[in-house]
Symmetry: C2
Subunit: 136 residues, 2 copies
């Protein structure tokens, strides 16, 4: 089954690179998942519903809720009431959060670029992006 071989290769690539990136010293005391949330927030028109985040992060809703607790405790994220829905909470980066995201993101992006360009041609990078988008 070529589809299954492709999936296994994707899993292997993911594991290999995640391990490598996690071992690098660029995270400023954050777990990778915590940085992931900061990154997602930085990419969105400011106030993001917590439910939207859970679509981007591979984490249960309660785990995400507590991860946000930690980011709030670190002063990187703010919980704001949603004026349009009293149940909802909207998340926004604080100034400190934006700053940390920027610095970590810059260093991490360098590692990512280096790791991928070491192993793939420019064509393959484009193919990977196209394929990834189709799957996501």
């Amino acid at each position: 089954m070529t589809a299954n071989d492709a999936w296994e290769a994707l899993l292997g690539a993911h594991a290999r690179l995640m391990r490598q990136f996690a071992a690098e010293d660029v995270w400023a005391g954050l777990a990778m998942r915590e940085y992931d949330v900061l990154y997602t927030l930085s990419k969105c028109p400011e106030p993001q519903r917590i439910g939207e985040l859970s679509h981007h992060v591979l984490l249960s809703q309660p785990a995400l809720s507590r991860l946000v607790d930690r980011l709030v405790a670190k002063g990187l994220v703010e919980r704001c009431p949603d004026p349009a829905d009293g149940r909802g909470v909207r998340l926004a980066l604080t100034a400190a959060g934006r700053d940390v995201q920027y610095r970590v993101g810059r260093d991490h992006a360098r590692s990512v670029a280096r790791a991928l360009r070491e192993r793939l041609t420019e064509d393959e990078l484009h193919q990977l992006e196209v394929i990834g988008r189709k799957l996501a």
Copy 2:
């Protein structure tokens, strides 16, 4: 940066598909990581060192050790002393373990093939496999 876009696409694809696969009812009471270990064992010339497993699974060594505890408790895996190295432990599937791996693997492989073929052409499947192998 096209390399970073490619990595983000890969991450998105991984998260999306992992979520989908985890939600399917094919795991026979196993966590996906537990199945992953059974699968790796089934693919190897019988007795596998626990240290080798940790290269394939995205998990710390202690976590893997306890995951094996659980599989042993379920009667799916055996710990055998390594005759060539008194520190080492070699792992082997039991008959029950082989059976469970086979059944779960068959169902899961079907989902994987369906999910990937729904979204990718045959050419893209081959590209993904090539790219994945280069990265892993």
